[in-house]
């Protein structure tokens, strides 16, 4: 590579970094300004950001774990929806929120296993496989859901003692319901496992160059199955979140496209857990801010346009970033032993 070309690629990375820093600086200044002028609203917006971003982070984690091992998961939406429904039913019939969360996790895992079966064993096109999950989930949940079922309450926020008293940061980070906490922890755990452990190394190898892994004795099929199932259970957690923490009940198609927005979050976050977390916060922030401005009457936009925001943002992100991100090289191709 000539020095000229090297300089060019280096400066592009610098450019992105500078833009990112400026942007981050503006956001920070905005938050400080907002807190000084109107602490209650600012805190509410930030807390709402964290809550809005939770299902997106979880969905993105699910997606990236699968993709790192080479499997595209378009079915996150269906996994979330189905898990939300089963968690809801479990809540209604057992009254035990913990059991309900587990039910959600299990549903996600089962659907993950189904996706793995279609992708790895049947070697179906993975995008069609994911779509099948989405359609099945929509159909089954609509068919079996009967209105009028009452739930036994939802998961409440747990304040972490004195930490929750810190101004601004306290209520936002340390006064949240359990799944939200779990998400933050999960981001760190997935990051550690993916980049610092043997399991993570093998997963990444399987996603980049499966035959290299195969020839040193790693079972590519097994690795992909397990990763997709674990990812599925994380998507299941997102579904449980929606019905048990956010809303408290179930509605037809309540995931509302979040599963797909999560894919954009995953790509924007460059297939890394912390990147996904940052990207999800951005999305959540945009939605929370817009809603707040709407309520405060500052903006005279019809509510349908507010509704469009996360979807427009997703497209903008994809258009801007998908070409620039390095995808695991073997993603989407079923592995065939030669």
């Amino acid at each position: 590579m000539t020095t000229a070309a090297m300089a060019k690629t280096k400066s592009r990375g610098d450019y992105v970094r500078i833009v990112g820093l400026i942007f981050g600086g503006i956001v920070l200044l905005g938050i400080i300004y907002g807190y000084i002028t109107n602490p209650v609203t600012t805190t509410a917006v930030l807390a709402s950001t964290l809550r809005q971003s939770t299902p997106l982070v979880l969905g993105a984690l699910c997606g990236l774990i699968g993709e790192r091992s080479g499997i595209i998961n378009i079915g996150i939406e269906g996994q979330m929806l189905m898990a939300a429904f089963i968690a809801f039913l479990a809540n209604v019939y057992t009254g035990n929120l913990f059991v309900a969360v587990l039910a959600g996790l299990a549903t996600g895992a089962v659907l993950g296993g189904f996706l793995a079966f279609m992708s790895v064993t049947l070697k179906m096109d993975q995008i069609i496989g994911g779509t099948v999950i989405n359609i099945l989930a929509l159909g089954l949940t609509s068919f079996f859901y009967q209105t009028g079922l009452t739930t036994q309450g939802k998961l409440q926020a747990i304040a972490l003692g004195p930490l929750a008293e810190i101004p601004l940061i306290g209520p936002v980070f340390f006064d949240n319901p359990p799944i939200t906490y779990a998400t933050l922890i999960l981001v760190m755990v997935v990051h550690y496992v993916l980049f610092y452990t043997r399991w993570g190394l093998r997963t990444r190898a399987v996603g980049e160059h499966p035959s290299a892994a195969d020839t040193v004795g790693i079972n590519v099929y097994k690795m992909r199955y397990i990763n997709v199932i674990i990812g599925g259970s994380i998507a299941g957690l997102a579904g449980a979140y929606l019905t048990l923490e956010a809303v408290g009940s179930f509605e037809r198609a309540m995931t509302n496209g979040r599963g797909f927005v999560a894919l954009a979050v995953m790509i924007f976050g460059k297939y890394t857990p912390f990147g996904a977390w940052g990207a999800a916060l951005l999305f959540g922030f945009a939605v929370a801010l817009q809603t707040q401005l709407q309520f405060s009457g500052r903006l005279e936009i019809p509510h349908q346009f507010i509704g469009m925001l996360p979807y427009v943002l997703t497209i903008v992100v994809l258009a801007g970033f998908v070409g620039r991100t390095r995808v695991p090289a073997a993603v989407g191709k079923p592995y065939e032993k030669e």
């Binding site: 779509t131 359609i135 159909g139 609509s142 509302n256 497209i315 258009a319 191709k333």
Partner: protein
């Protein structure tokens, strides 16, 4: 190392149709069987349910007309998805393209006065279809120029379309009264119904034939299919890939938009939010059921249309919630796409060149 090849000449027409239809047929039968099991689990009688379904779909000329009516947008939605598949693209945006087609057709239908039928109806139909084409071209352009995969962008555009058309019907284009909907279209813009038979159905059939001809008998079709199968070879062949991708999505959107326009002009008579949700996914099922063949879309759409038409009868007679149709459709989709598992069950030999792959353009 080569595998043995048989030097057969082109197989006979009938044999080809049988081979093509056997897998989808098997998929449908399997789906109906699994559906029956689900019905049993939920406490219903599958036989009663299915016979009510059949009655509601074919039991009278009125029923038959309803089936054709339901099948019409399904044909066009299926064509849209199948056409995009041929070009190597996964258009899930049929929903959004259809909505735009529907509302623009309504707009032209109620917004203009005094035109004779022979101008007004085709104009409304055309404008609606073009609106769909434009909306379909957007994800095509995004894919070409930014690499954004159309699976996500089309779904996002669906949500955006729902919101936008809601706003139009609740705002600038709202009829008098409380209900969020557009005014009714002019008489001259409406697509007639002959007895019980909707004329729109024949428009859909025409579209299917035209699509088949475009794909297999024209140079444009050759270009689209080549790009869909191997965009590298297409480049080598001198085909302009970017232009072809956008054109493919535009034509796909045109077909979906036409579906929406026909619904408005021939069935509903105005644009009302909330109609025909889920057409995007229906289109996928039909396209795969038809093995992405434009002519195969017709029987596939008739089948699904029959199920949808008969579902209210089934709900009435056998007390089965109509959503079981959604489940059966999803099952059909699963079985049809799991080529290999169905072949194994039914012991049919694999056919060359029919695997649909979309994942190669991810990322």
């Amino acid at each position: 190392m080569t595998t043995q090849t048989d030097s057969k000449a082109k197989p006979s027409r009938l044999m080809a149709i049988w081979r093509a239809a056997s897998i989808p047929l098997a998929a449908v039968i399997l789906a109906l069987l699994v559906g029956a099991v689900i019905l049993l689990i939920s406490g219903a009688n599958p036989i009663a349910a299915y016979s009510a379904l059949a009655k509601g779909a074919f039991g009278s000329t009125a029923a038959f007309g309803r089936t054709l009516e339901k099948a019409t947008p399904l044909i066009l939605g299926g064509l849209a998805v199948a056409f995009a598949f041929k070009g190597g693209l996964f258009n899930i945006g049929g929903q959004g393209q259809l909505l735009f087609g529907a509302i623009v057709a309504a707009g032209v239908g109620f917004g203009i006065d005094g035109l004779p039928f022979i101008i007004h109806m085709p104009l409304a139909l055309l404008m609606g279809s073009l609106a769909g084409a434009l909306y379909g071209a957007i994800p095509g352009a995004l894919k070409t120029y930014t690499g954004a995969h159309e699976v996500i962008t089309t779904i996002m555009l669906n949500f955006i379309a729902i919101n936008f058309t809601d706003w139009l019907a609740d705002g600038p284009w709202k009829d008098e009264g409380i209900v969020a909907r557009t005014p009714a279209i002019a008489e001259a813009a409406a697509i007639p119904t002959w007895g019980n038979i909707p004329a729109g159905f024949f428009l859909a059939i025409l579209a299917a034939v035209a699509t088949w001809y475009l794909l297999y008998r024209t140079t444009t079709g050759y270009e689209i299919r080549t790009v869909g199968l191997n965009s590298n070879a297409a480049k080598y062949a001198g085909i302009k890939v970017s232009y072809t991708v956008i054109l493919t999505m535009a034509i796909s959107g045109f077909l979906a938009g036409m579906g929406g326009a026909i619904e408005t002009l021939g069935v509903v008579g105005r644009y009302q939010p909330g109609f025909n949700a889920g057409l995007g996914f229906d289109g996928i099922t039909i396209a795969l059921l038809a093995r992405t063949n434009p002519l195969g879309v017709i029987p596939a759409a008739l089948l699904v249309g029959a199920m949808q038409a008969g579902s209210s009868q089934m709900q009435f007679d056998a007390h089965v919630p109509f959503q079981i149709i959604d489940v059966i459709q999803a099952l059909i989709l699963f079985f049809v796409s799991a080529d290999m598992i169905v072949r194994w069950i039914v012991r049919v030999q694999p056919e060359e060149g029919e695997q649909v792959t979309l994942s190669t353009s991810w990322g």
